[in-house]
Subunit: 327 residues, 2 copies
DNA sequence: TTACTAATACTCAATTTGAGATTTAATGGA
DNA sequence: TCCATTAAATCTCAAATTGAGTATTAGTAA
């Protein structure tokens, strides 16, 4: 069983880009969910080409690039997705084809401090329609949904829109971030779509002014925003069945902080009493005898992650049904 | 923001292999879970190289290869994982590096018939330790776990083994198929590891007889068995929260058949009465007035998937906790 | 007519959920 | 010092879900 040579010698060279979505919670800004960029002006994610000569696995390559670009040593890393159609942003080189693989990394507030605050960007700047913490985002009904249905070419696309955005009676599935972003891209409702449709500009902003005024959040170079959407979907799903949230927290935290962080990930509010009942019942946390005094109100107990759970199979996450009610 | 040229001109050529894990249920064999191979002798999964000249996305490339090799048009397809260290099986060509991306496809019994039965192989032939339907597989305690702990080099590896195999008090997490396979590979308990350690053989069996006698199931060329492990883990997870099971069934089925298929996926038995209560409560199925007469016993009603659920967001799957008790 | 088999129906205690009301411990004026 | 304010922490309770049965029914074969 030997590996056959490529059928066709004059084929394109393939290049694999490794892209890191490094997520952390901003402890100074009421627990906002943030992502690391390496270039404030352009919102570039840390990335680099995979070079099998130097790195045995793609994940090792990714860690290398992140180390190089930011000095950070990543702990938790997981592969997200490999996009083969990165050619949807064009570089003008017909002899090379770029494939991009995204990774999700999680960083706690201590590690977070190694980077300038300005490079940590609020995730919802890129997806304003994904944040239901202050009610349903008006942009959905004022802009996105009408535009999508305008663009839709029939019942099948209507169906897709309904499935992704849960219009009307159906429920919003917060994990469906990618399907929503892809639809918006196809319908030209995000800047990247406008950019990619214009072959001679590789992301530089010299596109006609009107088109850049899309109200659908900040944009990113390459397909980085699509990768970020994948990461958001993944962490929203994961937080419900694995205790990843603790990788985002400091060693000591109040239950309220824990809740705010979870809400930042899920993009909606949770019921306070039931939230704490759950984490306590599952013994995910242990109370310390330290207290945190607030400017007003009863001081909160500080908790830590139950270290006894490290290395125990089947530790569940927060087991939160999709879209709970307000707190 | 133009894409920089590769730093280093004399780098290796990268080739992307696309691999399909096509899964179906064997209706003639009490609902066994099977996978399509294109080469009975070698257990080869359908695969082909990604050629961006001809296919816009990797998924389109995959569908093309499957069509080519088997004539089948795939419906449900989802990407699994991209392995960059496929170099762990060697082809002796130091100038090319192979990356492999796995896909999961699901096929119903009608489509299944298009292929010769002999090419559909029982998934548990490749993972005998994953099947708890007739109790805990003896191979775990007789061979795998003792060998793993022998091989383990300390407390940290012990921990890894415990996490993946849930030894003793901890529970078996049926979704952890990949972690288990990877450990067994590292510990040289699967044939692929022996093969890959031997650089001048590319999968042909001329390795010393003793090593091929590993009792850990049939093996596959390349890293196909690792990809299959990824697929099994994914479908085990997915069946619990999305109604994928119906893509594996004929249009009409009894609740018992539905249960057997689910058990084949999960690798353990379920409680019969509760299973039917669940699918009925969630209105996943609709009773028809057809009956299926068995050789003995009361005839069973035929059901069909509730078509009203097509296109409804948030349809849940079978919501089965990890490892239920016997039926 | 009777044994046998499997589908279907029903039961019931124990848990878990969803949504609250109530109590407690702090702070900062009047 | 006392009181309003704030948020943590505790407690309540009905409704829904789960886990693990027992009981009944509709067929087949002897």
């Amino acid at each position: 069983m030997s590996h056959p040579a490529h059928k066709n010698a004059k084929s394109m060279e393939i290049i694999i880009d490794l892209n890191a979505v490094i997520i952390s919670i901003d402890p100074n800004n009421q627990g906002e969910l943030t992502v690391l960029t390496i270039d404030k002006a352009n919102n570039l994610l840390p990335w680099g080409q995979y070079d099998p000569m130097h790195h045995k696995t793609m994940e090792i390559g990714l860690r290398h690039w992140v180390k190089n670009l930011s000095g950070m040593m990543l702990d938790y890393v997981e592969q997200l997705y490999t996009f083969g159609d990165s050619g949807r942003f064009s570089y003008g080189d017909p002899n090379r084809h770029i494939v991009s693989t995204g990774y999700l990394a999680i960083v706690n507030p201590e590690i977070r401090e190694q980077q300038p605050t300005s490079q940590w960007r609020n995730i919802y700047d890129f997806f304003p329609w994904e944040d239901f913490r202050n009610g349903r985002p008006p942009i959905l009904d004022k802009f996105i949904l009408p535009k999508l249905y305008d663009w839709s070419d029939g019942i099948e696309t209507d169906q897709r829109i309904k499935l992704s955005f849960g219009s009307q009676n159906d429920v919003w599935d917060e994990e469906n971030t990618v399907a929503r972003f892809e639809l918006m891209y196809e319908a030209n409702l995000v800047f990247e779509a406008v950019r990619d449709a214009n072959p001679d500009m590789s992301g530089e902003i010299n596109i006609n002014e009107a088109d850049t005024k899309l109200p659908t959040g900040s944009y990113m170079p390459f397909d980085h925003r699509r990768i970020l959407a994948t990461a958001l979907g993944r962490i929203r799903s994961k937080v419900k069945y694995k205790p990843v949230i603790f990788d985002l927290m400091s060693n000591f935290f109040t239950l309220f902080e824990l809740q705010k962080s979870t809400e930042a990930i899920l993009g909606h509010r949770l019921h306070k009493q039931n939230f704490r009942r759950y984490v306590e019942r599952e013994k995910l946390v242990v109370k310390t005898d330290e207290m945190q005094h607030q400017p007003s109100g009863r001081p909160a107990s500080l908790y830590e992650f139950n270290k006894q759970l490290v290395g125990v199979a089947n530790v569940v996450g927060l087991k939160i049904g999709n879209s709970s009610s307000a707190y």
